[in-house]
Amino acid sequence: MFDADFGSRARSIMMRGVIILALFAIMAKLGDMQLVNEVVYGKKSEDITTRVFVQQPLRGEIFDRNGKVMVENDPAYEVSVIPYEFKAEQIPALASLLQMDSVDIVRRIQIGETISPFFPVRLKRDIPVATLYSIEEHLKDFKGVYFDIEPKRVYVGEARAAHILGFTKEISENQLATLGDYYKPGDIVGYTGLEASYETILRGQKGYKYLAVNARGQVMGPYDDGKIDVPAQDGSDLYLSIDEGLQAKAESLLVGKRGAVVALDPNDGEVLAMASAPDFDPAIFSGYTSKAEWDKLVNNPDHPLFNRATMAALPPGSTFKMVLATAALEDSIINTDWTVHCTGSFYYGGRIFGDDAVHGTVNVDKAIEMSCDVFFYNLMLKVGFDTWTKFGRMFGFGSKTGIDLREESPGIMPSKEYYDRIFGKNRWTSGYLLSLGIGQGEVSVTPLQLAAYTMAISNYGKYFQPHLVRYIRDRKTGKIYYTQYSERTIPISTSVFDQIREGMYLVVNGPNGTGRAAQVPGVVVAGKTGTAQNPHGKSHAWFVAFAPFDHPKIALAVLVENVGWGGSHAAPIAGDLIQYYLDKNGMLNPKVPNRIVATVAQH
């Protein structure tokens, strides 16, 4: 049955019929397209070549609190190619001209071509002016290679403020994937600091210019008379709370050290200065960043890119004693008559907890003045873990302050739950508590947190969200938009704050004060020293301070890593900064004597 009709004449005719039918169908369709409708398709092939040119907006500028410019834009030259006009054999010559790697050029063009062969791809930005003309001359020999002027960040003034301002850099492939459709390869984007946190405000909006281009690639003029063009919108300017002079002063005082300074205005939480050392020159990133320069920064063991002011989480040492004192006084666990007799050490749980000196019988004010550890060991046992944790949190420890930077660490405010989690339930003893009472052990804070805490003590409990930007100014309309920040009141009575402030007054002005190095002629300063033990080397020196004592205008925290005592290394820096700032604002009165201490000295 199968074989009966094998390869019959009828079947071979049908086969040939199918071949003719299939080819005829194709040719009929081809004839319809190419002969009948050639004009229609021809027109389409002309229309389709509309080309888009991106208009880069100017990035917003940044000013200090007195209107002094800190960051502005300068023109820089960049070289780009349009992939479809570009021929691969030009790559070696272009690479040597631009001093680039051929592989890098190929990769950039390939990435660009996947988006559109008609979109210019940036090859190299910030060509040095010296070599500009020789390159320009040669560029005429290249096809599809273009010059363009693009703005470049320029940093003006004495202060670098590298960690505040942050830097801009060419967008990475990762960011391209995550930041959304707005960005294209080669775009400049804020990487760190305010450049990153205010990226959408600073960058503005790109504009698009449409040009009609014929099928041979010749530009015929604006497309549709430019009706669909979108003009670029420049970015808005930032006006900061930073005092450029104070910032420069802070940076100069930290030169050669590792550490940080944060100065706040206790009346509104504005950051007056915020320095982190070592720092870096943000201008390195504004044009073309060589790999060597980048590697040098990233591999530096002192981590200059790291913003210590907001990210270094270290034990606060004795600067933290006011938390415990506040808790004890506010919850009426003690009063100012309650004393401890310090013999220079404290025996607890089979261990000896040391002190720096024999302080004798001290009450809370004297204990703060002399930074007596034995007093606070006793007090910590009396106050207890939970109350201490509660007051620490009230002062904002253990959570981010909410400053307008992305780079911020919350630090650690230990609690019973936290100890149960890291040591295990019942695996830690109340001996651990004693260290916490004097700001050692697991508790860790950032300089910014300490400055905000000092601010809240100085102003009787107002905790303002620290911030760098005061307002944003629209470049086109000149309209000013004030940024909104939160504030809260810490529920602690005025009399308690009076006691604590008195203790801090004694630290700087008392006969046995540990922070006398922070005294400033013409103004009364209050503060507290701290020395954070460091298992890897010398202790970290802390100092927190505010001034003037009666109506504070500045509250600050100073950290100098691995140098030793806070009183000798950090307190003088605080004094210098207070002197500079108050002098600048006419608040130093030579007639004001250092207040004579009312309380009788023990020694």
């Binding site: 074989d3 094998f6 071979s12 049908m14 086969m15 080819l23 050639e38 398709y41 389709i48 479809y84």
Partner: protein
């Protein structure tokens, strides 16, 4: 040797294939001319040369060489397909490019040739020994195995090529028309369903009429028609109710790329604009604005016909198609000339596979067929496909050389 070329060399088939290879070289050169991919031309030239050497090698082989190696060849390609599934490296979301010899290779191209030979050999030997249903069932198995393996890759285009192997070979083998129509019916109904309810209705009616015309037993025809209607109803239910809207949409876009102007439709539109704007004589070699400006994607492989259509116009496109047509007629002629049943069946299989490639590939360039990754024989750039095209030509030349032997 001279005698061989006088009597046994089918210069017609060889020359037709050579012309197509020449068109291919021109088109690949033009498609990659402005992209800095000059090695494509030399690589294409290399593969065409290797292909011709392989074709001559097969031509000079003995009478039964092709037939005797069919099963072995089939086993090797099936193993390669499995290997690709397990270890193949991903290229354009398919796993079919074998990561060997640095250049990669597609065993699914070779599997098609192996499948033609194996099906032809099986039917030529067993069709008279076994009942018809067994022959059909085993044939489905022979074609189904490599088809399933390419479907898992997944390579939809190559998969449907197996239909172009299966139906024509069974048809040429003498299978009664009613059976051929009955086998085609379910495939046609599936496609009709995806196109729309109206098309489905028409398709079911057409098959019903065909069943009544072709079958002498009316009861049998009624049964077949009933099965066809039920299957159509089931497909309707499956498509409308069981598939998610996005799955329906994917099928619709597959059959009509214009529904997706940003994705598949973009390619289809660019290809049509390129071909349509070519006119009667084209824009001249290397002067196709669309192809040179790289508007057309994959213009050296799946969309290479746009280069021919734009730069050589209707004249060039029609010439190319006529050369193909002549080659296909030559394939059918060889099927009639040869004495062995195997060679005859294999010639038909080769012809129909080449025809199917041309129809689908050119069809998707001009919006006649869905967009599937099927190369244009001899012309599209790609080592595996060029090699398997020339292998098929070598097999035809071998059959012709031994056409008088049993």
């Amino acid at each position: 040797m001279f005698d061989f070329f006088k009597d046994s060399f089918d210069y017609k088939t060889f020359l037709l294939a050579l012309i197509l290879a020449g068109i291919g070289l021109l088109a690949v050169n033009s498609a990659t001319y402005n992209s800095g991919m000059h090695n494509y031309f030399s690589k294409d030239l290399l593969w065409q040369s290797i292909g011709i050497v392989v074709a001559f090698g097969i031509m000079f082989s003995s009478n039964r060489f092709v037939e005797n190696s069919a099963y072995f060849f089939y086993a090797v390609t099936v193993l390669l397909l499995i290997f690709v599934l397990v270890a193949g490296k991903k290229v354009a979301s398919h796993t079919s490019w074998l990561g060997i010899l640095g250049g990669g290779g597609q065993p699914s191209e070779l599997a098609k040739v192996a499948c033609i030979l194996t099906l032809s050999k099986f039917i030529s030997e067993k069709s008279n020994e076994r009942p018809q249903w067994q022959v059909i069932a085993i044939s489905i198995g022979i074609v189904g195995l490599p088809m399933l393996l390419t479907m898992l890759q997944p390579d939809l285009g190559t998969m449907i090529v197996y239909m172009a192997i299966f139906f024509p070979i069974l048809f040429w083998a003498g299978l009664p028309p009613i059976v051929v129509v009955g086998l085609i019916a379910p495939v046609a109904i599936v496609f009709a369903e995806f196109t729309g309810t109206a098309t489905l209705l028409i398709t079911v009616v057409v098959f019903g009429v065909l069943f009544f015309v072709l079958s002498r037993k009316k009861l049998f025809a009624v049964t077949l028609s009933f099965v066809a209607v039920s299957f159509g109803l089931f497909m309707e239910y499956f498509y409308r109710k069981l598939l998610q809207p996005h799955q329906q949409k994917r099928i619709q876009i597959f059959l009509n790329p214009n529904l997706d102007p940003q994705g598949a439709g973009y390619n289809a539109l660019q290809a049509r604009v390129a071909i349509g704007s070519g006119g009667l004589f084209g824009k001249g070699y290397l002067h196709g604005a669309q192809t040179q400006l790289r508007f057309v994607p994959a213009r050296w492989t799946d969309f290479i016909f746009t280069v021919i259509g734009e730069e050589f116009g209707f004249a060039g496109a029609a010439f190319t198609l006529l050369v193909f047509g002549a080659l296909f007629f030559r394939g059918i002629r060889i099927a009639e000339l040869v004495k062995t049943k195997f060679a005859s069946l294999a010639s038909v299989g080769i012809t129909s596979v080449l025809l199917f490639h041309v129809f689908i590939n050119v069809g998707m360039n001009i919006n006649l067929a869905p967009i599937v990754g099927i190369p244009l024989p001899f012309i599209s750039y790609g080592g595996s496909s060029i090699l398997s095209d020339w292998m098929m030509i070598g097999i035809l030349l071998n059959f012709y050389a031994h056409r008088k032997e049993h």
